[in-house]
């Protein structure tokens, strides 16, 4: 029997460390034997902290929202050969896992990421052995080609093509690089994979390196992911000790070693030439392609860069066959994709589903629909580089082509769900603010253009929008797209263009009617007290920081609109819902 505490960053944020410490303390206090081990994130972040108990027959019971108190009850029950029924995951929540096809996430939340033995006993490093002992370089690449695997970081470029280019490139020194600079706000699948199953990434890189004839690898990880760095470091050391990394791996002529380079916080470094510049200790600024990294990359040597999720798929493909991977998905997009489901969604977390599912399948089927019974408005796909898919396009099929047709992109798989209370102009302003700050400054249109667009969007949300602003935004957007060197600039205007495309009426409301229908833009709303609901409890008047609310006890209160700073404190302090926003 053993107990497994889910400890991804999100689980820890929800209190998993405290729960496992409490468990160990209580077990010691009771003087029983019950090993407590660790797993990564299972993806059901809304139920964290999650604790699994595996009994002597191998049967698993999952407990959710465990606290330092309930863990004691669970241990008591387990000791008596029972289950703490009241804390067990509901069948409905459990079914969420059954609705998924987990390939990249196959081990996440199941095995102990800090123990290589668990990865090996789940079939780990078997794919590498198969490649080294029975396959040529070309055969490995052919298998990846058959699978149809495409880059999961955003661009969706065929993996086999990149590998072939690197293999055929001149030179003996070649680098295998993993892009774990997951900068897209709202996406966290790469973090979850590294934290939950680091060896899958290492094995994927090893297979890629074998196929390309590379002996040196680097994982470029975001500095904001300290736990991922720790787990990956630990995994690299264990793999080295086992002989999976190093010289003459498994007695062959193939040698490969791996190191980590921590990023320093720059979104643009997700672009491969900027990433290479950063690896070389420079400012992360992209350069013109060609030459492509496959010809001249890190230190001018042939380099292959793939995303974490891409590498994590590789061992599965080699073990199960490319045709099995290819059997899933649509004509132009094969296999599965991991999505990070967040925002105004009931059941947020990580989900992995075959390509070809519909947007609505994820939002309603897996995510359980919108929080607080509100109406679904749109979902932002692909982060700041992507666009919004509005409610009327909820049946859009998830593959590279169909999503691109809506103006959004697959991107790294971030899905931020928005409801009726989200202002689309404010959303566009938010993304522009992000890309404007993150622009490296090399291309003028990206550096200056995003700033000008941000100014226009800001003035629209402040109620100072002018006739012609929408057209000006569109004009600037097209110029930035056309004259930027890298993906950051080329895609930065997408959130603006898609919100204009689908929610032009909201822009017009802001500009011409000075109205924000989502009631988010402070300059365009006003607060009033409903005389029928107000009982005169004085709560709002006491909480108003500027003394704008007057009224006697047990009498209707009134807000002085001249004094009101629209902080919203009266709304949150009123227990009777009497303060209305107009």
């Amino acid at each position: 029997m053993k107990m497994i505490v889910g400890k991804g960053s999100c689980g820890i944020a929800a209190g998993a460390n405290k729960v496992s410490a409490a468990a160990e303390e209580y077990i010691a206090e009771k003087g029983i034997t019950l090993p407590v081990s660790v797993a990564g994130c299972i993806g059901m972040c809304y139920l964290e902290p999650i604790v699994d108990v595996i009994d002597d027959n191998g049967e698993k019971t999952t407990y959710i929202k465990v606290t330092t108190e309930t863990i004691k009850e669970i241990i008591d029950a387990v000791c008596n050969g029972k289950k703490a029924e009241q804390y067990i995951i509901s069948p409905e929540d459990k079914a969420i896992l059954d609705k998924q096809t987990r390939i990249a996430l196959r081990n996440c939340g199941i095995i102990d990421p800090e123990n290589i033995e668990e990865y090996i006993s789940s079939g780990g490093y078997k794919a590498l052995e198969k490649c080294i002992k029975s396959m040529t370089q070309d055969e490995v690449i052919e298998e990846i080609k058959v699978s149809g695997l495409a880059g999961r970081g955003g661009a969706g470029f065929p993996t086999w093509f990149k590998w072939t280019a690197a293999k055929n490139a001149q030179g003996t020194k070649k680098y295998t690089i993993c892009n774990a600079d997951e900068g897209d706000p709202g996406a966290f699948m790469d973090r979850a994979v590294i934290e939950g199953d680091p060896h899958a990434v290492i094995e994927g890189m090893l297979i890629g390196a074998y196929a390309m004839g590379s002996d040196d690898g680097i994982v470029y990880v975001r500095a904001e992911y300290p736990l991922a760095i720790v787990r990956l470091n630990n995994a690299i050391e264990q793999a080295r000790a086992k002989g999976f990394l190093g010289k003459n791996i498994m007695g062959s002529n193939f040698s490969f070693d791996l190191r980590i380079k921590a990023g320093a916080g720059a979104f643009v470094c997700g672009e491969e030439t900027a990433l290479i510049a950063s690896l070389e200790g420079e400012r992360g600024m992209p350069r013109l392609k060609p030459p492509f990294p496959a010809q001249k990359g890190f230190w001018q040597k042939p380099s292959n860069i793939n995303n974490v999720e891409t590498y994590a798929n590789v061992p599965w493909i080699l073990t199960n066959g490319g045709d099995k991977f290819c059997a899933m998905g649509t004509e132009n997009s094969k296999g599965t994709k991991v999505f990070a489901l967040t925002g105004k969604i009931k059941k947020g977390g990580l989900v992995e589903i075959p390509m070809g599912a519909k947007v609505g399948d994820i939002i309603y089927g897996v995510g359980g629909g919108i929080k607080d019974g509100k109406a679904f408005k749109a979902v932002q796909m692909g982060g700041p580089s992507g666009g919004c898919v509005p409610a009327e396009l909820i049946d859009t099929i998830i593959d590279y082509k169909s999503l691109a047709a809506t103006g959004a992109i697959m991107g790294s798989g971030g899905m931020v769900v928005m409801d009726e209370t989200t202002c689309m102009v404010d959303m566009a302003r938010f993304f522009l603010d992000f890309t404007c700050k993150e622009s490296c400054g090399k291309c003028i249109h990206c550096r200056v253009g995003t700033k000008r667009m941000l100014e226009i969007l800001t003035r629209i949300t402040e109620g100072k929008g002018k006739d012609g602003d929408i057209e000006l935004l569109e004009n600037l957007a097209n110029q930035i797209k056309a004259s930027s060197l890298c993906g950051l600039g080329q895609t930065a205007p997408n959130p603006v263009l898609t919100t204009i495309r689908y929610f032009r009426n909201e822009y017009e409301d802001h500009i011409y009617n000075k109205k924000c229908t989502a009631k988010q833009c402070k300059a365009l709303i006003s607060y009033e007290i409903d005389a029928e609901k107000c009982i005169g409890c004085t709560m709002c008047a006491r909480n108003c920081p500027v003394g704008a609310i007057t009224g006697k006890v047990k009498e209707t209160h009134v807000i002085d609109k001249e004094l009101c700073i629209k902080c919203g404190k009266c709304v949150t302090s009123c227990k009777f819902g009497a303060v209305k926003i107009y």
């Binding site: 973090r191 200790g281 420079e282």
Partner: protein, 174 residues
């Protein structure tokens, strides 16, 4: 760096004046000084040691590594992780990622600013707290989120955020 040059000693003396012990960096230079492309790694270690990267320290690193001071400053100011000003004892990293934004991170920022009486990017006069907005911390399902000295606090409300800070304040006052 030529052996006749005494600029390293001069820079060292300047660092001493502001109370920075540059000898702590020696193991870092030993390990990475000779490896090309290690500037970011060296800066990361230096910030781990001193908490921030004052200009005098950047100059010292430039002299020790032979990299031009302009480039060292360029790299240090390009990346969001590097700070040229000292931070408070508690560094509050407030997530402003998409999911947090949609779930009201702006209100959290207002609440924290009110509680500490500082603006984003500033440090309280007592040197206890620094407030920084950061792009996604990757805990989107728990949004809105903030991280204080490595510990993550999720599903915040303005009141909850204020309470967390008040708790730290109370602990410090003891």
């Amino acid at each position: 760096m030529s052996s006749n040059c005494n600029c390293a000693q001069q820079a060292f003396a300047e660092l001493e004046k502001v109370g920075i012990d540059a000898t702590l960096l020696e193991p870092v230079f030993d390990k990475y000084g000779k490896i090309e492309g290690s500037l970011i790694t060296i800066l990361q270690h230096a910030q781990d040691i001193y908490g921030y990267l004052p200009i005098v320290l950047l100059n010292y690193i430039a002299i020790k590594t032979g990299i031009k001071p302009a480039k060292v400053l360029g790299v240090a100011t390009f990346y969001a992780q590097f700070r040229l000003e000292p931070v408070g004892k508690y560094l509050i990293m407030l997530c402003q990622g998409t999911a947090c934004h949609v779930n009201g991170s702006v209100d959290i920022e207002t609440a924290v600013c009110e509680e500490l009486n500082i603006k984003e990017g500033e440090t309280t006069p007592d040197g206890l707290f620094t407030l920084n907005n950061v792009a996604c911390l990757g805990c989107c399902s728990l949004s809105p989120v903030m991280m204080i000295n490595g510990e993550t606090y999720g599903t915040l409300t303005p009141t909850k955020a204020k309470e967390i800070i008040a708790e730290i304040k109370a602990k410090e006052a003891e």
